[in-house]
Amino acid sequence: MDLSSINPVLLIASVMVSATPILLAAIGEMVVEKSGVLNLGVEGMMITGAVVGFAVAVSATSPGLGFVAAAIAGALLSLAFGLLTQYLLSNQVATGLGLTLVGLGLSSLIGKPYEGMKTPTLSKFEIPLLSDLPILGDMLFSHDVMVYFSLLLVAAVWAFLKYTRAGLILRAVGEGHDSAHALGYKVTQIRILAILFGGACAGLGGAYLSLVRVPQWTEGMTAGAGWIALAIVVFASWRAGRVAVGAYLFGGVTVLQLNLQAAGADVPVALLSASPYLITILVLVIISARGVHGAPASLGRPFHASH
């Protein structure tokens, strides 16, 4: 094994790239769960975002339009989930699973003609001054715009939930929907908005996979990234900052195992490929063994205003 072939600058840079799709999906799902809704369809929305983003980016030769389309596609799919769970009061777990199955089918249907195609690349955005720093410049400050966008989004969500009135209302709806309803807040509508936001974020995350990370379209390419995003929300105890930490830790594991595979480490390939999933399980166990802190009290419970 030749560990010296692993370049730390490239390693950190690729960790940031590999963490971004999960970070986007996870921060969106965190907002959804903060409003008291458990949407297990992240994987389905992500892969739909991946294929729609790819298709639009290729057709319009514009990755930017691809991301916009992916966000819209993710939001539309999540709207189906929202209508079912909020207005038709269906079981959230089952509906989320259904959303994933629909998303997987829909994406491979849309994606068939785009297999093996190349996408226009998203140009790098080098932050002035900072990107000229000797090592840190290449490592942290010469990424594409979506990497910074995802981090800004985390900060925005954090500030929104902590400092704004709307954020407080969202949390109130998630902690006790009956009380929030009694105070006159429109529980269902607030939740629909949160679900739409989560869907758009998952769509963006998926598009980042197909447009930047891989970058091409292959069937089933999200390979559980949406589920890992769900796990990261639990890991993060529903806090924005910790979502970022979780996503970057996970990105680190993914990149490290790929590097170890490339360097010919003396570990079975199957174990390395499975390591992101095994580590996710391990992290979930550690978190739950300490007792889950911070889960919104109304999470996953249906709300029906009887009067």
């Binding site: 209508l83 997987l104 491979s108 589920w227 499975a274 095994l278």
Partner: protein, 361 residues
Amino acid sequence: MLRLEKRPQPSQLWTVVTPILAVFLTMIVGGIMFALLGKPPLEAIKVIFWDPLFHEQFAAYSRPQLLVKAGPLILIAIGLSIGFKAGIWNIGAEGQYIIGAICGAGVGLAFYPSESVLIFPAMVLAGAAGGWAWAMIPAVLKTRFGTNEILVSLMLVYVAQNVLISVSSGLLRNPEGMGFPGSRNFKQWDAAHNAELIANTGMHWGVVAAFIAVIGAYMLMSRHIMGFNIRLTGEAPRAARFAGVSPTRIVFFCLGLAGLLAGAAGLFEATGPAGQITGAFNAGYGFTAIIVAFLGRLHPVGILLAGLLMALTYIGGELAQLMLNLPGASIQLFQGMLLFFLLATDVFTNYRLRFGKKGLV
């Protein structure tokens, strides 16, 4: 003004009507989807739902496939449905199915080329045990640490897939296979072959096991105290605890049973229709079985019918690929839509639509 009013009890009529309504809605929306794809909608629906059974040229081939495809779906869905009744969301049946197949096949191949009659039963037992053991991981983690079983069981599917790829090109690879990945072909080894029991019916031991599971699940859920405890835990967890039902036992029982059945289904598939362990022998039955369980209203008889219907869409989907050049993925979307419409129409089971303003109570 349209409003929903909660029914005091779920409507029995709507429980039966919603799956049928969902199938019709799926046909309509699916037809629109096919029209958008530039295919004749009515023709496509006919190819999917009618031709597999009655087409004069293809039906002879596709009719036996109905049982072949329904067998594993029903077997897995029965196990899942019992867990769902108790509010235990095992969605990793695909992983339990894969590991069951690997364990069963491994035990069998260890005795190659013995022709003992005990080989196949031993493989079935090993397969069921493998699926059970894989399902015990989320069960132990849930009961010991309170870890969410949905995420753990799903993560384990991806782990199982990596194990499958590894063993099919390593441990279980056919030594006479010229270096190609994949195990020995069980169809060429009589003692381990899960052959058709009655020619041209598609009936194999896995289908027999599925029928037994349907009857067994019916007895369990309607006649046995364990079935009552499971339903009680799902519908009123607090009441169940006061009544002395141990939640831990229910978790172990439900996940264990689902793993057992999924593992056995995997073994029946690997030694029968698939014929060998390869990196892609699993056909996603573990996920489709979730749809089957819901479509069958988590009731054994319903699951039997839903499994047959879902098998029909699989075969019809293949026929539609052949005859109408319809993309294979559209049938996956079709199946997903079915679940969606079912969940949407299910609102009428628990709620009543009311028009106008609410009057005095």
